[in-house]
């Protein structure tokens, strides 16, 4: 079922679909970044497809795998009337890190895109208010990038041991303090 959808997509947008593959029954199409809006709109409105639900949307960072381009944004579409699914992917280079927004097509895209911006720092062109959703505005960087250290915390409340450490530093004492419970 999903296979036919994929085939129709390839017929309709032969130049926009860069690559397709199926793994464990998940049909995937890698499409050109600029076309994603048009493609998704077509998938949503075309009779017989009607992929009315944007089930999920996320990004992947392939830093360790050394892929180029480094990021991928992944869309999972689902057709409530016809019960078929399709996965779309667009590749995002690190230099020009932005993707057209789908906020106009699906209501949920608004928050999902905000989350991707929050976690990966991928900009969405045309998004109404692209700001952090899970983390706080004071947070610097994007934690789900592979080069963000897992345990680099950015506290909002100053820790007492930090204050103590600063005082010690000012007075020229060693920095490493024994702290019960460990000041991480």
């Amino acid at each position: 079922m999903s296979k036919q959808v994929l085939d129709r997509l390839c017929q309709r947008f032969p130049e926009a679909v860069l690559e397709t593959h199926g793994f464990r029954g998940d049909e995937t199409a890698v499409v050109r970044r600029e076309e994603i809006g048009a493609i998704v709109r077509w998938l949503r409105d075309e009779p017989g497809l009607e992929m009315s639900m944007l089930t999920d949307m996320t990004a992947v960072d392939f830093l360790q795998q050394g892929h180029d381009p480094r990021f991928e944004v992944v869309y999972h579409l689902f057709s409530v009337p016809h019960k078929h699914r399709l996965r779309l992917k667009v590749q995002v280079p690190e230099q020009d890190i932005q993707v057209p927004s789908l906020a106009g097509l699906y209501k949920i895209a608004d928050w999902l895109e905000r989350e991707i911006w929050d976690m990966y720092g991928i900009r969405f062109k045309g998004h109404p208010n692209l700001k952090r959703i899970l983390l706080y505005e004071e947070f610097v960087g994007h934690p789900l990038r592979k080069d963000y250290p897992k345990d680099r915390r950015q506290p909002l409340v100053r820790r007492p041991e930090n204050e103590i450490a600063e005082v010690l530093a000012r007075r020229g004492k060693a920095r490493s303090l024994p702290t019960p419970g460990g000041a991480r």
């Binding site: 998940d26 639900m53 089930t55 999920d56 992944v74 999972h76 959703i133 934690p143 592979k146």
Partner: protein, 397 residues
């Protein structure tokens, strides 16, 4: 805490902050409403207060080690998350659990679903001021937790499911206990029904409040009880049957007008259906192994591990380097308490996921909350928020 705020500031609006720590905001969430009198003109929903970096942790652990983290996603029904994650990894590996394990997963999953909906009822009613049902519900939930504890050894965070099956078989006399318990659970549901469903005040605060049309619900990516409350017939267990749900005979309750009351009634009915499923599963469950014997997936028995070098190496490599799925990506979805719980896994062939994305059902609900409460009274925020049944661990991950 009442403060005026800049970005919601308009000449005629009073801004009220509800949360992050608020009696009715189970889990921490922040709703900022701009009021005109008691009418909500503007609203802004802030989530993320319970963002604990699930995905970052998952990327730092081996495939098996992620189970305890999935427990704490939707911590009202941990078993369902276990099952969902296990199915995702099995899809990635291209293996299937033995039949008995699949039945066990159905059984524990449906018990967890009842717990989930009972907890929802407790929150819904208590936060609307009706404290009595809370005690009825807690009574019932503790009974169910006793069952799950007998199976898994833990009251709440079970980690009972394994990749390729489940940890161990049912304890002695489990079937009898469950069959004896289910009627008592039904009575709890009936009591709840009698207490609330025809209660005048309850109805006033639930009926025709926060109506969401089917189109809107779909566009918001709703799934599960909320979507069905809006009259859309979509339940993963029916449309894409997984495990052995295709052998079960059960109904999917559908709402009509998509208001708070429908979302409440759908859950009420689902508890009864889950009980049906459990009964059938307990009847049908075949004997047999509860886990695959694939050496590359399941760690060997302790006795063999400690006495032969082959099993020792096998155990060692599975624990240290972890399971090595093939390179690839899968999106696997199951019906959790709040709807379609999806896992999008990307593997590069090493023992750790490149990406372990959770598709949180109630995240979609929260996205719609702003639209749902705008135009209603400030008192309607609480019941509306409750019908979404937002679970912090799942929504913020």
């Amino acid at each position: 805490m009442t403060t005026t705020d800049r970005d919601l500031e308009a000449p005629d609006l009073t801004t009220v902050n509800m949360g992050p720590s608020h009696p009715a905001m189970h889990g921490t969430i922040h709703i900022k409403v701009g009021l005109e009198g008691e009418l909500i003109r503007k609203a802004e929903v802030n989530i993320g207060y319970l963002h604990r970096g699930f995905e970052k942790e998952a990327e730092a652990h081996s495939w098996q080690q992620i189970f305890p983290y999935t427990d704490r996603l939707n911590y009202v029904s941990p078993m369902l998350n276990n099952v969902g994650y296990a199915l995702a990894v099995e899809k990635l590996l291209g293996i299937t659990a033995p039949e008995r394990a699949q039945y066990l997963r159905v059984i524990v999953g449906e018990i967890a679903r009842i717990c989930d909906h009972l907890t929802y009822m407790a929150a819904q009613t208590m936060e609307m001021g009706a404290f009595t049902p809370y005690f009825y519900v807690m009574k019932g939930r503790d009974w169910l937790w006793d069952l799950l504890e007998e199976i898994s050894g833990a009251r709440l965070t079970h980690s009972y499911v394994r990749i390729g099956g489940v940890a161990w078989d049912l304890p002695e006399g489990f079937k009898e206990k469950t069959l004896e318990l289910l009627p008592r659970i039904d009575t709890v549901v009936v009591e709840l029904d009698k207490l609330m469903t025809r209660n005048r005040i309850f109805l006033d605060r639930m009926q025709n409040i926060a109506v969401i049309s089917a189109e809107e619900a779909v566009s918001y990516g709703w799934t599960g009880p909320c979507l069905r409350g809006s009259g859309v017939d979509y339940d993963v267990r029916k449309t894409h049957p997984y495990l052995v749900y295709d052998r079960m005979d059960f109904e999917i309750p559908i709402g009509t007008d998509g208001d708070n009351m429908d979302r409440y009634l759908v859950r009420m009915e689902e508890m009864r259906q889950s009980a049906r499923i459990i009964r059938q599963a307990l009847e049908q469950i075949p004997p047999g192994p509860v886990c695959t014997d694939d050496k590359l997936v399941v760690i060997p028995r302790k006795a063999a591990t400690y006495n032969t070098i082959e099993e020792m190496i096998n155990h060692f490599k599975l624990v240290i380097d972890g399971i090595r799925p093939p390179v690839g990506e899968v999106y696997s979805y199951t019906e959790a308490g709040n709807g379609e719980l999806g896992f999008y896994l990307v593997s590069d062939g090493t023992g750790r996921p490149v990406k372990c994305r959770v598709r949180p059902p109630c995240f979609m609900g929260m996205a719609a909350l702003e639209r749902m409460i705008t135009g209603h009274m400030v008192a309607d925020v609480i019941p509306t928020f409750d019908t979404i049944n937002m679970i912090g661990g799942e929504c913020d991950r």
